[in-house]
Every structure is written in C-alpha cells, then in structure tokens.
C-alpha cells in the first residue's frame, strides 16, 4: 500500500484540503512512481565553442591540450551554467471562479489551476530547478529551495479570482523577469485579449522560453448543459443575457468547440505545448497526462 490516495479521490481531497503544500505533495507523490526520469530539462555548465584568446581572458579557460596540438591559444566558452528557471502564470480573472456556486465535491476553474500549478511547482522545485509565480497582483522571481517553494505555495493558496486581468501584460512581465531561457507555464481560460495574448506568447517563445499553455475549462462551460430559461450573467462584466438554454445550446457548443480548437491549433503551430484541463477530470490524472505527453 502506498500513501498516495486513489486517483478518483484526489479531486475530493483537493476540494477539502486547504493546505496547498499537502495537495501538491499528494499529487506529485502519486506521479513520481510512474515517471522514471524528470520531464524537465535544466541547463548545466555545458561546452559551447572555442574562440581565440584575447588579452584579459581568464587563463583557467585556456585549453592547454589544444595549444599543444595546434600551437595556437584558444579559450573555451560554455552555453549555460545554471539550472532551469520556470515561471507559473495564473489567470486570476473572475471568469476563472466558475462555476458558482460550486457543485458538491467540485472545483472551480481557479482552484483547479491553483492545484495543478502547485503540483508542478513542487515537482520543479524538488528536482532542484527554480520556480516563480507571476499573476496580475503577485510576482515571485524564480528561485530554488524549500523555503521559496513554501512561500510560493502560500502565495498561491491566498490568491482569489476576481475582476479582469490583462494576460498580455502579465505574460510579458513573466517572460522578461524570467531572464534567461526558461519555462513559462500559463494557466487561463484564454477568453481575454486573444490576439494580444498570443503575440506576447510568441514573443516569449522568441526570447528563448519554452511556452506551455493550460486552458482550464469546466464541463458545463463546454457542454452547456442548461435547460429552460436561464439568465446568464458575465462574471467579469456583469452584463446579462436571458436565453432559452435548450435552443441556444447548439450554437454555443459549436462556438466553444471552434474556440478551443483554434487555441490548440495556434499553440501547436507556434511550437507551444497545449493542454486542455477540464475540471471534472481529477487533477492528478490531468497532470499525469500532461507529463506523459511532455516526455513523449
């Protein structure tokens, strides 16, 4: 028997446990046994090229064997000498607080994103890489160490979804603060500023960052399983629209399907890793699927 809970229980556990560190550990411990090597690749002090010695260069980088063979003085250059840096970006807009009120033992999109991002942060930190957090209100620079991880998880657990967010601005800040080539993990439903957001993601990619998109959706949001007359109230703008839900379902589901497919296609075209997270799938299952896809 292992200490990890069964997969089907994880969603209920996450819904009940307020200690995010514990949630992250439960999810990651369940994964580690199934993954034999880390899915994230850091950067070591790796040789890159030789160049002619110039006065003032540190003599310790001179390759004396090469001097002996060629009778010329070269110094060695290295590409990177640090671990991987990862930045987690979470959409804190009001649309992520859906559904309201929460169904029994259910998770909001925001809580789901928080749980998965906490697990990823735990996973990255425990393998010695730096991890940071960027939201509209918070910024924690990528760092290593258990103390930093605890602070990051605390910051995650105290966040609330509300208002609107400017994804392009947040992603730009994350990409620029990430400094060197790093991993950008972004959780959102991607409803806001689509084109600007995508341009910013493309820019981050060109800066050398690896971009991973998590699109967090609820089942009700995808299947629109409402009946009779419903007055829908936009969580972000407060605007309302009353419709006969049964009649509006077909056009709604067509629109959402096209929207999701558009994001998936654009992400793949740009070389981003894309993952659709649906809140009725246990988060540990979703995380496992994501990591397996990443290793593959």
């Amino acid at each position: 028997m292992t200490g990890a809970p069964a997969a089907s229980d994880t969603a209920r556990l996450i819904a009940r446990i307020s200690d995010l560190e514990l949630v992250a550990r439960i999810m990651v411990e369940g994964l580690v046994s199934g993954l034999h090597r880390s899915p994230f690749h850091g950067y070591s002090a790796e040789f890159n090229q030789y160049r002619h010695y110039r006065p003032g260069d540190d003599l310790k980088y001179v390759d004396w064997k090469l001097v002996a063979r060629t009778d010329r003085v070269y110094t060695k250059q290295f590409r990177e000498t640090t671990n991987m840096g990862a930045a987690i970006v979470v959409d804190t807009s009001a649309s992520m607080s859906f559904p309201q009120p929460l169904p029994t033992a259910g998770l909001s999109k925001f809580r789901y994103a928080i749980a998965v991002s906490a697990a990823l942060a735990h996973l990255i930190a425990t393998q010695g890489d730096a991890v940071g957090l960027v939201t509209a209100q918070k910024f924690l620079a990528p760092r290593t160490g258990r103390q930093h991880l605890r602070g990051l998880l605390t910051a995650l657990s105290t966040m609330k979804a509300g208002g609107v967010w400017r994804p392009a601005e947040t992603i730009r800040r994350a990409a620029e603060r990430l400094g060197r080539r790093g991993l950008l993990l972004v959780f959102s439903d991607w409803y806001d500023q689509e084109d600007e957001t995508f341009a910013e993601l493309r820019r981050a990619s060109r800066m050398g960052h690896e971009v991973v998109l998590f699109q967090v959706m609820s089942r009700d949001e995808i299947e629109f399983s409402y009946k009779k007359d419903v007055e829908f109230v936009d969580l972000e703008t407060g605007r309302s629209l009353a419709v006969d839900a049964a009649q509006a379902r077909r056009e709604y589901t067509d629109g959402v399907t096209a929207f999701l497919e558009s994001w998936r296609r654009r992400a793949v075209a740009e070389g981003f890793q894309y993952s659709l997270l649906i809140t009725d799938v246990p988060p540990d299952h979703a995380l496992r699927n994501f990591l397996i896809a990443r290793k593959g």
């Binding site: 649309s95 259910g106 007359d229 509006a248 709604y252 959402v256």
Partner: protein
C-alpha cells in the same frame, strides 16, 4: 349529490390560487453566473419573466388535494341506487289527529318535512264532518305524501248550537241553532238586553235629513250584534281623509270586510282611519245617495265577529270524497341538508390523505432525480 355546507365550495377559489399565482406572478429566469457571453447568441433571447410550467402532474395533484379538502368540508352526500332503495323501503307515517283536522294536516306535513328520507304518508283520524277539510287543504299537501282517512268517531244525529246574536230595534237577541240530519233551524231566545248603537253616522248639515233616515233604517233592520267595544263612525260627504291611520287589528279586519261587501267601484271612494277606539269610515258619497245605505249596512256588519265555522257540523264528508282524496305515498324524495343524519365526507378525507401521500412520494422522487443528476454531473 347533496352538500351539507355548499357555502364551503367558495374554498374552491383556493385551487385557482396557485394557478393564478403561476400565471400572474412574474418570476425571473434562473440566474447563472457564467465566464463569458461571447458564444451565447442573443437572438435566442428568452423572456426573463416567463415561467414555464415545471411539473404539471404535481400541480394537478396539489389542486386535486385542495379540491378534495374543500369538497370534504362542504359535506357531500352521495345519492346511490342502494340508498334510494333503502329509502323507498321505509315509510314515515304521520298521524294527523286533533280537534281541527285542517291544522293537524298542516302540522303533519311540516313534521314530515323534517324527517329522514323515506316515503311519506299522513293518516287523518277524525270524525271528518263536512267542512273540516276541503279540496284546498288537500291540494296544499305535497304530491309525494300519501293520504289516508280514518273516521275515528261517529257524528251525532242532531246538535243544538249557540248562534250569533243579532240587534233588532235597539235590543240584542240571542239565538239558538239546531242541526238535525239534513235540516237546520234557528230560534230566537228571549232577551231584553238593550244595546246602545255602536254605529255613528255623521253628515254635513244639508244631508242631515238623509242621515237620520239612514240611522232609522239601520236600527230597524236586524243586524249581527257587534263585538263588545267595537264601534264605528261613518262620515258622508267628507272632504278630507281621516287624520289618524288604522293601527288596531279588528279595525283593519273590519276595513277589509267593508271593502269586500260594498260595490267595488264605490269601495274606491272609502277612506279608513281611527278616532280613539272607533273606526272612522269617510266617503265623499252623500248620505242621500243610494250607495249610502250599502256603506252603512256594511260598516254595521263589520263590527260583528266573523261567523263561526261549522265546528258543530253533524254531517260527515262523503266516503266517495274521502276515497278521491286518498292516495298512496309517492317515491322517497332525496333528503335535504336539514334532514341528513350522515354524510360521505370521511371517504373524501381518506382520498385527500391518499393524495397527500402520493404527492409526497412524487415530490421526493423529483428531488431524488434532481440530486442524482447533480451527482452525475459532478462526477
């Protein structure tokens, strides 16, 4: 179907209440906070205030519960064939015996109307002399009540009765009536009682001579003796109506008798009033007119008590007449709320309880189904 308290049917309005509330009360559509409205097409707009009938079966069931409760309160009584048979097998018989067969018959009819359902019959037990019952009395008995007549005693062969006294030339004469078989005779008894005139005749001075003639004529003519304290005044050539209206019963009776006895065309000119304990009859007719004598005569007669009915009749109602009046009891008539000793409300209450049970079960079923849907969606 008979209702003990039909006024309770007003409670049926209660059934309309939930329906009227449903129709009139405008309720907002369910509000659902949603991440975005961008995929919801606005041309599928629904009325925010429209409310669809969510569960017609439950509404019908609840309306039926209300209707059943109202009907039970109203006290229904179902008229079944079995009950009709039972009622027709029973006969309720009233004995109409008494000094006055007519009054006994009326009392018997009233008593039967208050009895439980069943066929009804009245048995009249009396000597049944002539005039004790008439066709009018029999016609007043409802057709469904049977009638039978039994002579209880034999009538005497002859009878001597006191007849109404008369006044003749200022003297009161008592009289004796003898009934003997089909013969009737009246005999004056000696009497010396002097009677003061109860009738006063007044006229204008120019008609005084005619009025005096009238007084003599009335005094000379044999008249029924007036009742004690009954007095009247006739005013001929009157130009105004009496000042005081008639308020005493005997005066009203006398006025009615006078109006009946005089010529109908002339009766319209009569006006009645009172002056203390005296009846005043005013007419514009002159004392010298021919109709004046009729008026004076009628007023004099009206002061006497009405002629007694034939209480002393010695001739019986013919058997043929009694056979014609005899009839069997008709079929039992349905009871009235006043004569019902029971009702069927207990059965309706039982039905109401049953419906409440079904409604509870149905409501729980609906709730369980909704909960199951929620659970399946959450899973």
């Amino acid at each position: 179907m008979i209702w003990l308290f039909p006024a309770a049917a007003i409670g049926l309005i209660a059934i309309a209440a939930p329906i009227v509330v449903h129709v009139l009360v405008r309720q907002r559509a369910t509000r659902v906070p949603f991440p975005t409205l961008r995929f919801i097409q606005p041309h599928r707009l629904a009325s925010v205030r429209r409310r669809a009938l969510e569960d017609a079966a439950l509404l019908t069931l609840r309306a039926a519960i209300l209707a059943g409760a109202v009907a039970a309160v109203a006290g229904p009584f179902l008229i079944t064939a079995a009950r009709l048979r039972a009622w027709n097998a029973r006969i309720v018989r009233a004995d109409a015996s008494g000094a006055d067969p007519r009054q006994a018959l009326i009392r018997a009819v009233a008593w039967l109307e208050r009895q439980p359902p069943g066929r009804r019959e009245i048995v009249v037990q009396d000597a049944l002399p002539l005039g004790s019952l008439t066709d009018a009395d029999i016609a007043a008995v409802p057709r469904h009540i049977g009638l039978r007549f039994q002579r209880s005693t034999a009538l005497p062969a002859s009878r001597v009765l006191r007849a109404q006294s008369v006044v003749d030339s200022g003297r009161t004469i008592d009289r004796e009536l003898t009934l003997d078989g089909d013969r009737t005779s009246v005999r004056d008894l000696a009497s010396s009682t002097s009677a003061s005139s109860a009738l006063e005749i007044v006229s204008p001075p120019d008609q005084e001579a005619a009025a005096a003639t009238l007084r003599n004529a009335i005094a000379q003519r044999r008249q029924p003796a007036p009742s004690p304290n009954h007095r009247a005044r006739v005013v001929f050539g009157a130009t105004s109506a009496p000042a005081t209206a008639v308020t005493v019963a005997w005066m009203a009776d006398a006025a009615a008798r006078i109006s009946r006895e005089v010529d109908p065309g002339h009766a319209a000119t009569l006006q009645f009033g009172a002056d203390g304990d005296r009846l005043v009859v005013s007419t514009s007719t002159s004392a010298a007119d021919r109709e004046a004598a009729d008026v004076a005569q009628a007023v004099a007669r009206s002061l006497a008590p009405p002629p007694e009915q034939t209480t002393g009749e010695i001739l019986p109602i013919p058997d043929a007449q009694l056979r014609a009046w005899t009839r069997d009891a008709g079929p039992a008539v349905p009871p009235t709320p006043e004569t019902l000793g029971q009702d069927d409300r207990r059965w309706l209450w039982a039905v109401v309880l049953l419906l409440i049970g079904v409604e509870t079960w149905l409501r729980r079923e609906r709730n369980d189904s909704a909960a199951a849907r929620d659970v399946s969606r959450a899973a």
